[in-house]
């Protein structure tokens, strides 16, 4: 991972992209025939950049993330992580799943869930507990360490899943609607947290969201997907600088313009005939 600071929103073409998606297509086999979901997706994510993905429900965002994280093989095309073909889940990539409640192990306490990937890496107990505790505190769950996931509210479960990914400290982080179930205030705090974390660890982040404000506020780039079969309809560069804050950034005229542009694109996408 390069240590040089890339100007926000400028795809580092000279540099090797952290994530590179080339002509990716994916179709599902169903009893009623093949269902083409993704069709020829091309996308480059520069090291340390934060790319938000927005698109209609059912467009194929989750499918795309699953291909990127090596959980699924594309029908055509390929994904490269730091130049290497992704044909299995790569080591330094973490995922926050959309279906957070099922992604937590009900037999493990909150802290054990968070520490599980670290434990599997052989990290000493003290260290992994400390890291997990810090991650849980960061998402506002301090004090819930020894409870079980099914004793938590939906939003709390979702934050456990986020804490697990953060504690893992991956090079690349893939998040599927990670803030869907938290309240506005917590959400704003988590957004700030994401920006901080990204800066601190120079993480590359791929972030699916349905909240357009969030996409524009967080992203260096926003990829708007079309309706099925899905392509990248437009990749919008967000030139709002790297230091953002809820109060100032969101009141910038550029923010409002970008916001409107994304909204417009999504509305058009949804009007396209669905397959």
């Amino acid at each position: 991972m390069s240590a040089t600071e890339t100007p926000a929103g400028v795809s580092a073409v000279a540099e090797q992209p952290t994530i590179s998606i080339r002509g990716l297509s994916k179709s599902y086999d169903t009893p009623s025939g093949r269902k083409q979901v993704l069709e020829g997706i091309d996308l480059d994510v520069a090291p340390g950049s934060f790319v938000c993905i927005v698109g209609p429900s059912g467009a194929g965002k989750t499918t795309l993330l699953r291909c990127i994280s090596g959980l699924m093989q594309p029908t055509e095309g390929a994904v490269y992580l730091e130049g290497e073909l992704v044909d299995r889940p790569p080591a330094k990539l973490a995922v926050v799943f959309q279906d957070y409640s099922r992604s937590l192990m009900p037999w493990l306490t909150v802290i054990s869930n968070t520490a599980l990937p670290l434990r599997s890496q052989g990290m000493p107990k003290a260290e992994r507990l400390e890291r997990s505790r810090a991650a849980l505190a960061a998402v506002g769950l301090a004090g819930n360490e020894s409870r079980y996931p099914w004793q938590l509210s939906g939003g709390m479960q979702q934050r456990v899943a986020i804490a697990r990914a953060l504690a893992y400290q991956p090079d690349a982080l893939v998040m599927d609607e990670p803030f869907a179930s938290v309240d506005a205030q917590t959400r704003a705090e988590l957004e700030s947290l994401m920006l901080e974390v990204r800066k601190e660890f120079n993480m590359t982040v791929l972030f699916v969201t349905h909240d357009i404000d969030e996409a524009v506020y967080l992203g260096d780039e926003v990829a708007v997907l079309s309706g099925a079969p899905t392509r990248v309809r437009k990749l919008i560069r967000v030139d709002l600088g790297r230091d953002r804050s809820h109060l100032t950034t969101k009141s910038l005229p550029a923010f409002a313009k970008l916001r409107a542009e994304v909204l417009q694109l999504i509305q058009e996408a949804r009007k396209e005939p669905q397959a």
Partner: protein, 278 residues
């Protein structure tokens, strides 16, 4: 807090009335009493059945007679030796079964290829009655504990193997993806995902196999003469002492009951995360 809007009664009074709970859970003491009550009820019906001649005395002894016979048998060392040997046989047999069945079941549950290769053989083997193998077991091991253990293993490996396999199939696909994407090591995947996922099924299988082991153990004693309460049972049977026969049967049943209640209590602890026990 008497906000009785629209003529509604005050809340305090309502809760006092007690509302239907979705799952009524008796306290431990109450449960114990109910259990004992049910046992007493069954014993009373049994006693009455025999006393009124509905159940012929010559076939089934009355609980009162059995109690008398038990009173004679229990103080003897032969009785306690027999129980000890029976439990020993059971423990070794079940232990081996678990050690064989759970790992194999997990392998077969995960991998299609392994399962396809062995499923026919397994379905063949598990349909072979252990009773029919008694002469072979006797020839190989004699009328010993080993013989009984061999029969137990042959009979109780299969239910556990199958249950484990089905349990592994139970893994939530999302949890499976978590394990893959965080690249959990084989060890972590095994202990933190596969085993807990399959645990409810394994627990059921464990209770099935535990009883089968006990039955096969006693069967091996009755038929094959391996040491244990089965032999005592034979002795009593040959001399037409029905009450004593039933005393031993009662003991066998009681052993099974205690073992399984113990296993259930253990299960409740280990699976406290599971919806059945939350």
């Amino acid at each position: 807090m008497d906000v009785t809007a629209a003529g509604l009664p005050a809340a305090a009074r309502i809760t006092a009335r007690g509302v239907r709970r979705r799952h009524w859970r008796p306290s431990r003491g109450v449960l114990l009493a109910l259990r004992l009550g049910f046992i007493v009820l069954v014993l009373a019906l049994w006693e009455l059945g025999v006393d009124l001649g509905i159940i012929p005395r010559s076939a089934v002894a009355a609980p009162s007679q059995i109690a008398l016979a038990l009173g004679e048998v229990v103080p003897t060392t032969a009785f306690w030796t027999a129980i000890g040997l029976t439990l020993l046989t059971w423990g070794i047999g079940l232990g081996i079964s678990v050690a064989v069945a759970v790992p194999l079941g997990i392998v077969f549950g995960i991998g299609t290829t392994a399962y396809l290769m062995f499923r026919n053989t397994i379905d063949f083997l598990r349909s072979i009655p252990p009773v029919a193998l008694v002469p072979l077991a006797l020839l190989l091991y004699g009328a010993t504990i080993n013989m009984a253990v061999a029969l137990i293993v042959f009979g109780s490996v299969w239910p556990l193997l199958l249950q484990t396999m089905y349990g592994v199939h139970q893994i939530d696909p999302v949890a499976r993806d978590v394990a893959r994407s965080y690249r959990l090591t084989a060890r972590s995947t095994f202990f933190s995902l596969i085993l807990p996922s399959a645990a409810p099924f394994i627990a059921t299988g464990f209770r099935i196999s535990a009883t089968i082991s006990l039955l096969l153990g006693i069967g091996a004693q009755v038929i094959g003469g391996a040491p244990g309460i089965g032999v005592q049972l034979n002795v009593a049977e040959e001399s037409n002492q029905i009450a004593t026969v039933y005393a031993y049967i009662l003991v066998a049943g009681a052993l099974g009951m205690l073992i399984n209640l113990g296993l259930q209590a253990l299960e409740r602890k280990v699976l406290k995360w599971h919806p059945s026990y939350r």
